[in-house]
């Protein structure tokens, strides 16, 4: 699971190590650290936002306990980042044009995965319909995925319907 926390660190050397060492030790993968120096607290502490991937909720709780033990104040906990979700509809010979290949090509884009798929068949030989949800870790990779799906749809003669939601 992907987690974002905000902690307040004293503005002295070695504080950040105290905060990130337990994350690494518990198998977490840090994806971003951001110091918010402009939001320094009245007691002179610096808010630091930490984004990391961690195994599960139980491990997260263990981590939060360790941080507390190290004297680190966590002000925002466990706000998970869901990524950028885009829902699309495909109509055509979805299975016969190798649905596996369609999904693999999308999953091949870094930071993109097909996170949900529902298929509805119609009469034999007629077009089937699918709803596909694509989750990406950024707006940029989400747009790349939609662009890729557009190309695939053209190659496979599928009608792609995207949503106005989230379109730029």
């Amino acid at each position: 699971m992907r987690v974002k926390i905000v902690m307040e660190l004293r503005d002295v050397p070695g504080q950040l190590t105290k905060a990130i060492e337990p994350v690494a030790r518990l198998g977490g993968n840090i994806q971003g650290i951001m110091h918010q120096r402009e939001r320094k607290t009245p007691l002179g502490r610096i808010p630091v936002m930490l984004v990391f991937e961690i195994k599960d909720k139980k491990t997260l709780e263990k981590l939060l306990a360790e941080l507390k033990k190290n004297g680190i104040a966590v002000t925002q906990i466990g706000e998970s980042i869901r990524g950028v979700k885009r829902t699309t509809i495909l109509i055509g010979h979805i299975i016969h044009t190798d649905i596996r290949d369609t999904i693999d090509r999308l999953n091949g884009i870094p930071g993109v995965r097909v996170s949900d798929m529902s298929l509805a068949m119609s009469e034999l030989g007629k077009d089937s319909s699918a709803r596909m949800t694509i989750t990406a870790d950024s707006e940029g990779s989400s747009n790349l995925a939609i662009k890729k799906l557009r190309q695939i749809s053209e190659q496979k003669d599928l009608l792609l319907i995207t949503s106005l939601e989230g379109e730029e």
């Binding site: 829902t87 109509i91 119609s122 077009d127 709803r131 319907i161 949503s163 106005l164």
Partner: protein, 337 residues
């Protein structure tokens, strides 16, 4: 205000009846006394310099006759001659749309402008084919040119943007601009019925043409999008610039899958700088564009007001009369005639 009605089909007759029915209202509330001094179509012309009496006009409109069959009409192809020679302030060009050539409306409008008459039209054809040319001709001739009724039927989207939102720059236009396709998609969703079956039902109800391709293949939406793009985004767009996909391939299963995800499938026309597209899109339920039945809706993205959406009936003689009459009153106020 002296009017020439060009085209005496559903719209021409509808407008004639509305003018007669609202005679008192127009006089009292707007100070407008419209006089139809000529009705003309491809078969002939009926001219009455004093104005055709409204009772007579209504009877003629209800008879459903072509102009040549009306009492006192002159037969023959005399449209241009009538527009040119009959003394009038405004020509209402209401002939059927041809989005490929723009004719016969394009020629009628040019003749009217060249003979120094103001023009109001509901006809998409001339605007799609020659927007810039007509706009320039109107300016050089010093005449007014109004076309509210060409897009969105009763929805005053063009005037809304040009007048009430005049301080804004329109950045993007998105719209459900075709009632027939919207009706078909709505019914497919309600009944779970396939496209062909619902299209047939729509044709039987008179909601779709015998040759429905203009609507269902997206050309009508594209034509309206071209007009909106020219008039509101100030981009010189032509029909060939629009990437068009229609609704033939949509299945009831796809509509259900979309609905399960909180979305409706609509044929949407979208325009901004560098992008002109008509295609089926998913619209989140509850958003202004997720209108049902034969309704139309337009959302404008603006630099100051952010977003403004407007919904209403996009077709029908009475609904279109609302826009035509709006233009007429606007000309009356602008010109004082």
């Amino acid at each position: 205000m002296r009017l020439i009605l060009v085209g005496f089909g559903n719209l021409g007759r509808g407008l004639g009846i509305t003018l007669a029915e609202k005679q008192e209202f127009l006089k009292k509330r707007q100070g407008l006394v419209p006089k139809v001094v000529a009705i003309v179509d491809e078969t002939g012309a009926l001219v009455n310099d004093d104005g055709i009496p409204s009772a007579k006009f209504v009877a003629m409109a209800r008879s459903g006759k072509k102009v040549e069959k009306l009492a006192g009409a002159k037969k023959g192809e005399i449209v241009h001659d009538t527009i040119e020679k009959v003394a009038a302030d405004v020509v209402l060009e209401l002939t059927p749309t041809n989005i490929k050539t723009g004719e016969p409306g394009l020629g009628h409008i040019k003749t009217a402008m060249k003979s120094n008459k103001h023009v109001i039209t509901s006809n998409k054809g001339p605007l799609v084919v020659a927007f810039k040319e007509l706009d320039a001709l109107a300016k050089s001739q010093g005449v007014e040119f109004r076309y509210s009724a060409s897009v969105g039927g009763a929805i005053p989207v063009i005037e809304l943007a040009r007048k009430l939102l005049a301080g804004n720059e329109v950045q993007e236009i998105k719209g459900v601009l075709n009632g027939t396709t919207n009706y078909i998609l709505t019914r497919m969703g309600e009944e779970g019925a396939p496209f062909d079956m619902v299209l047939k039902e729509a044709q039987e109800l008179g909601m779709a043409e015998k040759d429905p391709s203009l609507d269902i293949d997206g050309f009508d939406t594209a034509a309206k999008l071209v007009i909106l793009t020219n008039s509101l985004l100030a981009i010189n767009a032509k029909l060939k610039d629009v990437k068009i996909a229609g609704i033939r391939k949509i299945t009831p299963e796809a509509i259900k899958l979309a609905r399960d995800a909180g979305q409706a499938i609509k044929l949407v026309g979208a325009a901004k700088k560098g992008m002109l597209e008509v295609s089926p899109k998913m619209v989140p339920l509850g958003q202004p564009l997720a209108v049902s039945g034969s309704l139309n809706a337009v959302t404008l993205k603006l630099d100051l007001a952010r977003e403004i959406s407007i919904t209403g009936f996009g077709a029908g003689p009475k609904e279109t009369s609302s826009s035509l009459l709006g233009d007429l009153i606007d000309l009356h106020r602008t010109l004082g005639c």
